[in-house]
Amino acid sequence: MMHGMQRVAQTEEEHAQNTGQVVWRLVKYLSPYKKYVAAAFILVLVNAASQGLGPMLIGRAIDGAISQGDKAGLLKTVLTLLGVYTIGMFAMRFQIYTMSTAGQKVLADLRDEVFKKLQTLHLQFLEGSQAGDLMSRLSNDIDALNNFFSQSLAQMVGSLFALIGIMVAMLFLEWRLALVALVVIPIALYVTKFFSSWSRRAFRKTRATIGDVSAEMEEQVSGVKVAQAFNRTERNVGEFAKRNAANRDANVNANAITSAFAPAMDVLSTLDLALVAAYGGYLSIIGAITIGTVIAFIQYVQNFFRPIQTVAQMWTVAQSAFAAAERIFSLLDKEIELADGKETMPRIEGKVSFEDVSFAYDSDVPVLASVSMEASPGETVAIVGPTGAGKTTIVGLLARFYDAEKGRILIDDHDLRDVSQFSLRSQMGTVTQDPFLFSGSVMDNIRYGRLDASDEDVVAAAEAANADSFIQKMSEGYQTEVGERGSLLSQGQRQLIAIARAVLADPRILILDEATASIDTRTEKLIQGALDKLLKGRTSFVIAHRLSTVRNADQVLVLDEGQIVERGKHAELIAQNGLYADLYSRQFYTPPGETSLAI
């Protein structure tokens, strides 16, 4: 809620990159579309030629046909003119088409690339970032590149060519005047550079603040129910408005800079004109050159400044694209903190061992301390303990969402760090604590566990999870939409679907992290049979607070403050009369004066 502003300041530093490199990297994205680009340039020339040809033909018509009263000649010229304009129109049309299409393709490529990158990034980075800010890079920032690719780039290159042509012509015509005229080029360059770096800084702020706006939107839209429940909406609107205003002001600032730039160049070009007029006037007074040359030169200077203005203007505006590119590239350049192992995990038998594993999310607060344990293939391991003890963390390490700080984790004697994450996780099935569903149908969501599963398989999995009965009752059965995060279902129903999803995956290692926490005990009992079947033949880790689920485990690990304090079978642990026994009896606590419920 309050960290946004700080973040803006940080990102500005973090993203600064060398302009040359940024531009080069951007231009390289066009390389698959060389043909489009080449075609666009040719078409630009054709269009320019037709624009030039027009006045010439008109001049000819007036001087020739019309003044001579030649109707046939007039008709001919008019038809030619029509032809030239038609060609010009088509050239223009295809030029814009090729450039815009190439631009859009590049943007699509970039989006794909960033999305791929996101999929490989470390969970800690992803969960630690605000989703909306990451989204902003794939939407707003990529949009900011659009103009650069579909317009600025072509115009800049075109103008550069024009500039060189005019410069050469000027030098040929009268080199002394030309040199005087060209004096402003270094000044123009300097001014451009100054404005560019100034506007870049300003545009960085616009990119960061829109990321911030986007982050707030994402979070407040997805958390809106709580906001309403707590009467917080008005305040949220106020806080959003602050960020929104920061973005508005950043944009106005950045634009003020680019708006100031064009006039600056305008004044500069007029000064140059004055210079040429004065010097040319002087030269012709002393008789060094003819008056005609001076007049021609004054026209040239005007033509000469047009491309300079265009290039410089585009360049300044392109700073917005560069600032956006910096943010995109900085994401693309993020180190993948979990290097993928080279080996492929063979079919898992199911032996799992933790050897002296220590772990902390952030180094100040240790979460797991020297955890060791071993599970034989097919065993069911229950992990119990107070909330925050580190249970979820243990299974997270097993799926290699994180790497252990100390010690190692082995599955079938393969260190997790040696095998690819895909080969590892595709043999695991997880029901996470928060039963996340994707928007889409119930069918899609269960099928997420095994993409090639037939409809019958999906239904069978749902039946096993006791989800079939409620699914059948819904308006469109398995095709019913579940809503974002499953919002159209009850929490328990979401868990049942998550269980069905894991059942369908038929994994070698199964992780149930409080998989039945939101499910009532009668339903739980109904799926107990399915769960038992599910647990059989594969190594399973079960985290649960309702200890009836863990009673049959082969081994119970009791975790407290990141350490295994007790381990053994249910009966043994009860006999030990320690933490486990405490937790267990607490469940069946009977207030004094009431008959015990235990049957």
Partner: protein, 577 residues
């Protein structure tokens, strides 16, 4: 153009900068007309005659004009941006505010990614049109009219001829705007879909990784991306047919003038000089036409987006304050559901059927029932997150539809089943409903929720930042923060929906102990799976498929309800082995 017209109301606040920008633009155009004249003088009177005085004079005038033009050019750009960013700001704020107040049923069915697309991309398209498009449109129209008037004074016959193209241009304009609009709408929709996939992937990253579905998601995103690309390219095709065509129409005007004008000259009705002068000015006709071609494309996109924005802004909230709603005075806490029937929008059957019960002030009511029985649905009716389909919810005998939402909800503390925390510190999260609460108050409720201890163990105690949705905390820790958050409101009515499901039995017991103190004098609703949690309630409502199956105390139900005994058995059977 209804959408764009409506955005003009947002422009009203920015009339001054808008007028300033427009004026500046016109002045820049005027200055542009002056320059050639000056240049002409420089060449004709200064250089040609070798009159250095004139040269200096004109040069200084040129610089002066450039400076003035520069200033107005800047003002035009700057004021245009102030206006357009201002409108974007207002639009975003209104949508955000609207979304914050739209009822649960709207949000159940909407997608964050799509809503965000509207608030960014669509707003941006509208902004671009209002910022520069509109301005240039106005100035193009001025220029067009000005040129036509000038041409008329020059030669009305030729001008009438040239004006033959105007209906053609108008037609092209209309056809394209009509065609581009739906296409732009499609593009924006596809963008929304793409962003939804992205947003869900970011939110559900753990599941994607757990099932090793990265490849699948990349493909899914890629497909949507290509969809968007295709839509974009179709639109580009149309675009690129459009403004070259408008430009071409301008050129046709030129052809007509040369052809027909030439004939007139040959026939002797027109002098050659007149024709030459006329063609010289025709250039000024082409410029605004070209501009209008570009603006037309912008306009049609902006219109499509504006409509999408107003879709949200016009969405009707299912739950709203009645026009004559009164503020609910401080309540005693009597909650009554009277013959309540409830069905979600779009559902085929009722989730709650003919339910009636009364909770007296200070009572604790437990709701028990199977997954999907409708427990959560019932309690969401009390703070009026949804409206009942039939019957009424009464608090202290007052129908809650007759009181303001603010006054109702501020007296109800609720812990929703799905825990949502926000980016910010732990303290900010607990104080979510009362940001002005002191640290002592925050600590007190954290203690009651058994959260104090673990909070102190965090790196920065109460000031420890938590991530989006509470990343950085375990499930049970999040739930305890959510409990503390509700307790801080010190509500007369407290609702806890399965809010200790991820909390271990020991901690839950402690929470219960603390709550027993806190529950005194409050009406409390508890949904829970564990009998141990609900046994001490004053009344247990046993729910079965949305209807009340049994009602009574733990003791009574043990005697009267078979279903209750069944539930009991599932929890205690085998305890003694």
């Amino acid at each position: 153009m209804t959408g764009i017209k409506r955005t003009f109301t947002y422009l009203q606040k920015y009339l001054l900068p808008t007028a300033g920008a427009l004026l500046s633009l016109l002045l820049v155009n005027a200055a542009n007309l002056v320059s050639p004249k000056l240049l002409q003088r420089l060449i004709d009177d200064g250089i040609s005659d070798l009159n250095m005085d004139v040269v200096w004079g004109v040069v200084i005038a040129l610089i002066g004009v450039a400076a003035v033009r520069g200033i107005f050019n800047f003002l035009q750009g700057y004021l245009g941006e102030v206006t357009s960013q201002g409108v974007a700001y207002e639009l975003r704020n209104s949508i955000f505010e609207k979304l914050q107040n739209l009822s649960f049923s709207y949000h159940d069915r909407s997608h964050t990614g799509k809503l965000m697309t509207r608030m960014t991309s669509d707003v941006e398209l509208v902004r671009m049109f209002l910022g520069s498009g509109l301005l240039h449109l106005v100035s193009a129209i001025f220029l067009l009219i000005g040129t036509i008037v000038m041409l008329f004074t020059l030669n009305w016959k030729l001008t009438l001829l040239v004006m033959l193209i105007l209906p053609g241009v108008g037609l092209i304009f209309m056809i394209f705007v009509k065609k581009i609009m739906p296409m732009s709408r499609i593009v924006q929709q596809k963008l929304g879909t793409l962003n939804t996939i992205l947003q869900e992937n970011l939110a559900g990253m753990r599941i994607v990784k757990a099932f090793a579905r990265e490849g699948y998601e990349i493909e899914r995103y890629g497909t949507a991306n290509i969809d968007l690309l295709d839509a974009n390219i179709s639109m580009i095709k149309l675009f690129t047919a459009f403004f070259p065509l408008v430009f071409f129409m301008g050129n046709i005007g030129m052809v007509i003038v040369i052809g027909m004008g030439g004939l007139l000259v040959i026939n002797g009705t027109l002098t050659l000089g007149e024709l030459v002068a006329f063609t010289g000015y025709l250039i000024y006709l082409l410029m605004p036409m070209f501009m209008m071609g570009m603006i037309g494309a912008m306009l049609s996109r902006a219109e499509a987006s504006a409509q999408r924005l107003f879709d949200v802004l016009d969405a009707k909230s299912e739950v709203e304050d009645a026009p004559d709603a009164i503020s609910l005075p401080k309540v005693e806490g009597r909650v009554e559901l009277r013959d309540v029937r409830f069905r979600y929008i779009g559902a085929e059957s009722d989730v709650v059927k003919d339910l009636s019960f009364v909770a007296e002030p200070g009572e604790t009511i437990a709701i028990l029932g199977q997954t999907g029985a409708g427990k959560s649905s019932i309690i969401t009716l009390i703070p009026r997150f949804y409206d009942v389909s039939d019957g009424a919810v009464l608090i202290d005998g007052k129908d809650i539809r007759e009181v303001t939402l603010d006054s109702l909800r501020s007296q109800i503390g609720i812990v929703l089943q799905e825990t949502t925390l926000f980016t910010g510190t732990i303290r900010e999260n607990i104080a979510y409903g009362r940001p002005e609460a002191t640290l002592e108050e925050v600590t007190a409720v954290a203690q009651a929720a058994q959260a104090h201890e673990f909070i102190l163990e965090q790196a920065e105690g109460y000031d420890t930042p938590v991530g989006e949705r509470g990343v950085g905390l375990s499930g049970g820790q999040k739930q305890r923060i959510a409990i503390a958050r509700a307790l801080l409101l010190d509500p007369r009515i407290l609702i806890m929906d399965d809010s200790t499901s991820s909390v271990d039995a020991e901690t839950e017991y402690k929470i219960q102990q603390a709550l027993e103190e806190l529950q005194k004098g409050r009406t409390t609703f508890i949904i829970a799976q564990r009998i141990s949690t609900v046994r001490s309630a004053d009344k247990i409502l046993l729910l079965d498929k949305g209807a009340l199956a049994a009602e009574g105390t733990h003791k009574e139900l043990q005697e009267t309800s078979e279903l209750y005994m069944e539930i009991l058995e599932t929890q205690f059977a085998g305890q003694e082995d």
